[in-house]
């Protein structure tokens, strides 16, 4: 929740920092810790969005539009009450949908072999085309970088040791945890440190009241809440779309169906309920591709996927067969975490938001230490700290030059699976093995479509523009 409140930091950063703490922990406890933290981020980001017009995370941005005007009108408590209730109920809705969909995983497992797993990995990689903000070309370069990094170390299929440059440490390849810590926590802290100043630019006055009115508002607009939750779940299920989109789509839906759309943006409580329901319901939806297919639907899910692998679990069709209890723990934690964070938010929002007034040059050194000590904690190896620092500098440069970090993460996470199953398919069936099995072929067609969509859209836009001219 604290990371949700701090703009620039969010789910990936908190997951990266918590990963080392889970080392040696019971798997179920580790899941509770990670999912609990992850589920708290979305609502945490809404608190500064409402109080100081600064969304804590991208997925809370639409909450600013009506949340902050409400705070300016002295109704910050009402907005926070509505946001907490809509977030909490939205997350429960998402978890219910997840519970109903997950049993399909049992059927999927029987139909999947190496080519299907390869195509799934390929599909996950194609998500990069969807999630790349700015230049798609740079997104693809970042993906290449992540993929080539994933080839480092010992390869059990070919029996070769690659790119270790004489270092024993690199025999295991690039370790996910220090890489994630570097890419997110260290990279963001470098950025924060260089920017200076304070995260918050506006003083909210410290007055928070009218919470009950906000809670009741959700029930008065329950139809809107339900529709926006469905939007959130659907957006979450589509790999690579994520929270920011569900937030804006839900807000857009609320505006479009409203009889008085002109009220939105001036402090309408529906403008808080809609995006909050959407961005919390999407968590349940986003776990569907992550758990059933092992495809990370978002940056957060990419890091979470890596965390599951580090915990010795195998996300994908086998998860429901091998570790059904883990899935249940995950769902219960998702629900419990959201209820708890809503309560904490309702009672402690005024205090929590003060973190955003700490100067960044004081905050950043503390996050540096948390990050690097986190990398050191898991194996007590300095090499992990060095890797985290190298990835931190890389992340800073990538952010500065508009290269996608999510592409690197997705590629590192899925690169190993893609390589292994690629060689296994070739050995068993040859190249035709990828296309003679219907599910594999279907997944390939979907993947090609996902990659071609951005180009098709541009072509259509160009044609429309030339026609208009």
């Amino acid at each position: 929740m604290l990371f949700g409140i701090l703009p620039g930091l969010g789910g990936p950063q908190v997951l990266a920092l918590l990963l080392p703490i889970t080392y040696g922990m019971d798997v179920n406890l580790a899941i509770v810790l990670l999912v609990g933290a992850m589920s708290s981020i979305a609502f945490g980001g809404s608190i500064p969005a409402i109080l100081i017009n600064t969304p804590g995370t991208g997925q809370s941005a639409a909450t600013c539009f009506d949340g902050f005007p409400l705070a300016q009108q002295g109704k910050a408590g009402m907005a926070i009450g509505a946001a907490a209730t809509a977030s909490c109920l939205g997350a429960i809705f998402g978890a219910l949908v997840l519970t109903m969909i997950l049993p399909i995983g049992r059927w999927v497992v029987l139909a999947f072999s190496y080519p299907e797993y390869f195509m799934l990995a390929l599909m996950g990689l194609s998500v990069i085309a969807v999630v790349s903000r700015g230049s798609l070309w740079k997104g693809l370069i970042a993906a290449c970088l992540g993929l080539i990094l994933s080839t480092m170390g010992y390869d059990p299929v070919t029996g070769s040791v690659r790119f270790t440059f004489g270092s024993d440490y690199l025999w295991d390849g690039i370790r996910l945890m220090p890489a994630f810590i570097g890419l997110f926590a260290v990279g963001e802290s470098l950025d924060l440190f260089l920017k200076r100043g304070k995260i918050a630019q506006i003083d909210y006055g410290g007055k928070i009241g009218g919470v009950t009115e906000g809670i009741m508002a959700v029930f008065r607009h329950f139809g809107l809440f339900l529709r926006c939750s469905i939007v959130g779940v659907l957006v979450g299920i589509i790999p690579g779309v994520g929270g920011a989109v569900s937030n804006f789509l839900a807000y857009g839906h609320a505006v479009q169906v409203s009889k008085d759309p002109e009220r939105f943006g001036t402090g309408d409580i529906r403008g808080v309920i809609a995006p909050e329901a959407g961005n919390d319901a999407k968590d349940g939806g986003a776990l569907v591709p992550t758990l059933i297919f092992g495809i990370p639907g978002s940056l957060e899910m990419a890091v979470f996927l890596g965390a599951l692998i580090l915990l010795g679990l195998e996300p994908g069709p086998r998860l429901m067969l091998d570790n059904p209890e883990v899935v249940l723990v995950l769902i219960y934690t998702l629900v419990a975490g959201n209820i708890l964070v809503a309560l904490i938010g309702l009672f402690g929002a005024g205090f929590l938001v003060k973190i955003t007034y700490i100067p960044t040059h004081l905050l950043a050194p503390v996050i540096f230490m948390l990050a690097l000590m986190g990398a050191y904690l898991s194996h007590g190896m300095l090499a992990d700290v060095i890797v985290a620092l190298i990835f931190g500098v890389l992340a800073f440069a990538m952010k500065r030059f508009d290269f996608s970090r999510i592409a690197v993460v997705i590629a590192i996470v899925l690169g190993g699976l893609a390589q292994k199953t690629f060689h296994q398919t070739l050995m068993l069936w040859g190249f035709k093995g990828f296309f003679i099995r219907p599910i594999s072929l279907g997944l390939f067609i979907i993947t090609v479509a996902m990659v071609l969509i951005p180009y098709g859209r541009t072509m259509l836009l160009r044609r429309k523009t030339s026609n208009a001219a």
Partner: protein, 188 residues
């Protein structure tokens, strides 16, 4: 040097340097992969070649802005580039764009260059402090390394008073001691 359209013919900046570093990395791995058996080298070699070619084209666009119009596909946006159609102007979610102090300051491109150098120099100093922390971590107890890093960076880089720097260092040390030693009982 500007051309007839007023565009600079050749641009040498930090982005170009980054392109060169990443391209060299791809090339290095592609060359090294030639030592492995055919099956083991197939994927890294392909990735190394594809990556270095893509990075070379990116480098061309960055170093010769006039090439951008000929290589339009390099500027093609991802599917979500237009996601913020409901977003009012002026509000950018954090992380959506890499907005720096330099962008916000409204400096001209000529004024930005020296400011960028200062920024990179500050970054280098912070990285050197972090390297110093790693060296201390290797030879001393982690609490000493953490305390020394927080106090020095807060005093020297953040230009805070000694009193404030030491207070922050002590607070962080107490926090870390409670987290790692008391709660997690980590053997560091």
């Amino acid at each position: 040097m500007p051309n007839k359209k007023g565009e600079k013919r050749i641009t040498l900046n930090d982005a170009v340097l980054f392109d060169l570093i990443i391209m060299s990395f791809f090339l290095l791995l592609a060359v090294v992969s030639l030592d492995y058996n055919p099956r083991a080298r197939s994927i890294p070699l392909a990735l190394g070649i594809v990556g270095s070619v893509m990075m070379f084209l990116q480098f061309l666009v960055d170093v010769l802005p006039s090439v951008r119009s000929k290589l339009r596909f390099i500027s093609q946006s991802g599917l979500l580039a237009g996601e913020s159609k409901f977003q009012p102007k002026g509000l950018v979610p954090p992380g959506a764009e890499a907005v720096t102090e330099l962008d916000q300051a409204g400096l001209s491109s000529d004024e930005k260059e020296p400011a960028k150098v200062v920024e990179w120099w500050r970054l280098t100093r912070v990285i050197l402090w972090l390297v110093g922390f790693i060296v201390l971590l290797a030879f001393t107890h982690y609490l000493i390394a953490v305390g020394a890093f927080v106090i020095s960076v807060t005093k020297v880089e953040a230009k805070e008073s000694w009193k404030r720097a030491i207070a922050l260092g002590i607070c962080v040390n107490i926090g870390f001691y409670l987290l790692f030693e008391v709660i997690l009982q980590a053997q560091l």
